[in-house]
Amino acid sequence: MKNINLTKWRYVSSAISILLMITSLAIIGVKGFNWGLDFTGGVVTEVQLDRKITSSELQPLLNAAYQQEVSVISASEPGRWVLRYGDIKSADTEQSNVDIQQALAPLNSEVQVLNSSVVGPQIGQELAEQGGLALLVAMLCILGYLSYRFEWRLASGALFALVHDVVFVLAFFALTQMEFNLTVLAAVLAILGYSLNDSIIIADRIRELLIAKPKLAIQDINNQAIAATFSRTMVTSGTTLMTVGALWIMGGGPLEGFSIAMFIGILTGTFSSISVGTSLPEFLGLTPEHYKEQVISDTP
């Protein structure tokens, strides 16, 4: 009875996963990303001003000084502002950096520049390409490893779960229009590794059970594998979520995007490894037969 319920639950959650994924892809397609400075090039300056100054005072001054629309975002603390604008000229000319002190002089406030970054457009382009390439290479390497370690039907489940997680995290960034920078890309790549972690541990169990109990129906094997690894999955996801949560709370602005991406990635990673990760191999017709011949050579 319980087993049937679990199977049903698994199917329902798989359907949810697929639905979520389609929605996610649509969101990414429609909204696109708010690419960070690392990828677009331009200038970002973080300044500390008098707390009383508002963005409506800042905006016209900056727009006039830099002769363009400067984006003014308030940072984590009052009086702290993140200013972002396109580079006026190529980065080597002296005039490219209009002095921020001068631009904000009418405000009569002490201007403290906390950090500033100038990234040339070609660097941004290159980093975007490199980032995409890294994602692709990581995927291919993982694919290669999976196909070596597992039967393809089983591997495809893990791989689909992985794509699902990455797409979901990307969709979150597209939906909220949070800045997608290099650190977030690093998080996405880390999610690649992490999401697989869960899937592989379940797949390992499935493989073990397929070999140990070849008479059992595949549904039951999957259910048993999930049940056997469930407490581990919860504990590990739990501790990782807690530490990433700590990073989110304490890590401050620069790590916010990273921690949010990781947090979501771990949540969906856990969910997808149980839902689509196990249902897809079943759907593709995985049976104990597929592990019969390799029994001797493949077990550790």
């Binding site: 520049v113 500033s116 990581a138 880390a190 590794g193 972690n197 590990t236 709370i249 890590g251 620069p254």
Partner: protein, 604 residues
């Protein structure tokens, strides 16, 4: 699964394994310790600076200016002033520079705050990235195209001369946008002649026939790469020597990718000053050497400071040099081969004909802006060589010393020809307050994450939880120790995020093992036997799970961007150390305590 070599002794680790484990942890602990003491800003006064004050007098003088000095070390004539507050570093440098005769000998540096016995053991703190320490970072792009163009133009000159000498009529040659030479020739004989000449004198060029009797000539791929490497290398050299002038011991100048140079200046807050120093231009000239004491002459110093009298106007400017390379001559002597363009060749040939047996000097000058933005010129003689015979557009200089020195000279000589425009394509400034804030936030997150995880593990796996916790703590110790030990390892803010992530994921190894042990206990085995099979059966799963994350860590590292590399480093190292402590260290503990436990109904 059932092959166990030590079936007689279940759950037994031999003594040497414990020794390895304990020694590893102790060494790593010592290596990790200096990091917790941190580093203090310091100003280093070189032995040649001419500081006459005693440390006590120096301290009093600085304190009168409101500087809090932590300590002043004097060793072998060098003085290290260690400061209490990081933001007084520049102030102290200015103050001290008025007390010494050679302000150039002052450098900003960092001194480990760890007790001296720890430093004497050779352990250093972890190097912090710019995002944690504050400073300026530049990425320079070296545009190699003009270098190819110079090469092309020189060849156009030579070809025109060859055509004239061979009296080939109706031939024309021009250089196009892609730095490719297009040669139109009247007939196949002329083409053969040109091919012959090119093969002999310019083997680095690639020729292809076009319709009619024309030729297309371009630099071979190999040669292009070689030229690019030489150009970037030369620019690196130039940048290094300029950055040295800024007096920052921990400055980093390194090549990034094909034609980029990354410069990191920790502690520097004003990018404009650094930019002035980076953006200097260099040039080169050949002079006739006059007798010392001549009236109608100019005096230039050579590297050792010896004055050399040279003619007021140079024979030839460095802009006529097309290429310069070091090689070993017939007698095994180091020499520098120089190629001039046509005009330069003529000038040189005229001059050398009348000056055989006389010395010729080569000078190197650099126009730059100092830290205040004022333009300044420095000029020095880099070599004096005797003219052996009449020189043409290709000649060689011998007597430059060793092969290394010849290479150095060639590098400098190329400065005139290969001045590739260098542009700043990326510039990042991180204020010191933000850097300190980043460290604080990062470690607060690490502390909180670690605390929660330790508490959770202790509560969840009561009996075995403490083992996992000891494993986790030693994991962190080893990880910090390794980061301090590995040369070139830099801790960045994303790197701290990697550490925090490692804390969460490291317990996974123990969780997997403990869950297996639980399973085996449920199957009715004794605790000792469950431990043994639990560890064995969990191993392949642990390996599989960590391996994929390792793949992503390696890929991330290869993207090669500073902060992200820091993340990849801590993530990757964290996986390795967590496997070491999770499997090896925790097994060692469990063996000692529960290894003989034959009771069957244990709750884990």
């Amino acid at each position: 699964m059932e092959r166990k070599p030590n079936k007689r002794l279940l759950n037994h680790y031999s003594a040497w394994k414990y020794i390895v484990l304990i020694v590893t942890i102790i060494v790593m602990l010592f290596s990790a310790l200096p990091t917790f003491y941190g580093e203090d800003a310091a100003v280093q006064v070189g032995a040649k600076a001419g500081l006459t004050l005693t440390p006590v007098a120096l301290r009093d003088k600085l304190q009168a200016e409101g500087v809090t000095v932590k300590r002043i070390d004097q060793k072998n004539g060098e003085t290290l002033i260690v400061l209490d507050a990081d933001n007084q570093q520049t102030l102290v440098k200015t103050l001290v520079s008025s007390m010494v005769t050679e302000p150039k000998e002052l450098t900003l540096s960092l001194a480990s705050a760890a007790p001296s016995w720890l430093q004497n053991l050779g352990f250093q703190p972890i190097k912090l990235g710019l995002d944690l320490r504050g400073g300026v970072q530049f990425l320079l792009d070296v545009d190699v195209d003009p270098v190819y163009q110079t090469q092309g133009e020189a060849l156009v000159d030579s070809l025109r001369q060859f055509i004239r000498e061979q009296k080939i009529r109706g031939a024309s040659v021009y250089l196009d946008q892609t730095n490719q030479l297009n040669l139109t020739l009247p007939d196949n004989d002329a083409r053969a002649a040109v091919r012959q000449m090119m093969k002999q004198s310019y083997p680095n060029w690639q020729l292809s026939n076009t319709d009619g009797a024309g030729l297309q000539i371009k630099l071979s791929q190999e040669e292009q790469t070689k030229l690019r490497n030489l150009t970037v290398q030369q620019n690196l050299q130039v940048m290094r020597s300029r950055i040295e002038e800024l007096g920052i011991t921990e400055a980093l100048v390194q090549r990034q990718g094909d034609h980029r140079i990354r410069i990191e200046l920790p502690g520097v807050q004003d990018p404009a000053a650094a930019k002035n120093v980076i953006g200097a231009t260099a040039s080169l000239a050949f002079f006739e050497v006059k007798e010392s004491g001549s009236v109608n002459a100019m005096v230039l110093n050579d590297k050792s400071g010896k004055p050399i009298y040279v003619s007021r106007t140079p024979v030839l400017g460095g802009d006529h040099i097309v290429d310069a390379r070091a090689s070993l001559g017939e007698m095994g002597m180091a020499e520098v081969n120089i190629n001039l363009d046509r005009v330069g060749g003529q000038k040189m040939s005229e001059f050398s004909r009348t000056n055989i047996g006389k010395p010729m000097a080569t000078s190197y000058s650099e126009y730059s802006r100092d830290e205040q933005g004022k333009a300044k010129q420095t000029q020095e003689i880099i070599s004096v060589a005797t003219i052996q015979s009449q020189l043409g557009d290709r000649f060689r200089i011998t007597g430059a010393g060793t092969y290394q020195e010849a290479q150095q000279l060639a590098l400098l000589l190329r400065a005139g020809s290969m001045t590739a425009p260098v542009t700043i394509v990326e510039e990042r400034t991180i204020g010191p307050t933000l850097g300190a804030e980043n460290i604080e936030n990062g470690f607060a997150a690490l502390g909180l994450g670690m605390g929660i995880t330790l508490l959770f593990m202790a509560l969840w796996y009561r009996r075995l939880g403490w083992v996992a916790n000891i494993a986790l703590i030693s994991n962190m110790v080893i990880l910090f120790g390794l980061l301090a030990l590995i040369p070139g390892a830099v801790l960045t803010l994303p790197g701290i995020a990697g550490l925090v992530l490692t804390v969460g994921m490291a317990v996974d190894t123990n969780v997997l093992i403990f869950e297996r042990i639980k399973d085996k206990l449920k199957e009715g085995r004794s605790f000792a036997l469950a431990i043994d099979t639990g560890f064995d059966s969990a191993f392949s799963t642990i390996f599989d799970a960590n391996f994929t994350t390792m793949i992503t860590a390696v890929v991330l590292y290869s993207i090669g961007n500073g902060p992200i590399q820091g993340f990849a480093l801590t993530l990757g190292l964290g996986l390795l150390t967590s496997m070491f402590t999770g499997i090896f260290a925790s097994r060692a503990l469990i063996n000692l305590v529960y290894g003989r436990d034959a009771s069957r109904h244990v709750r884990v």
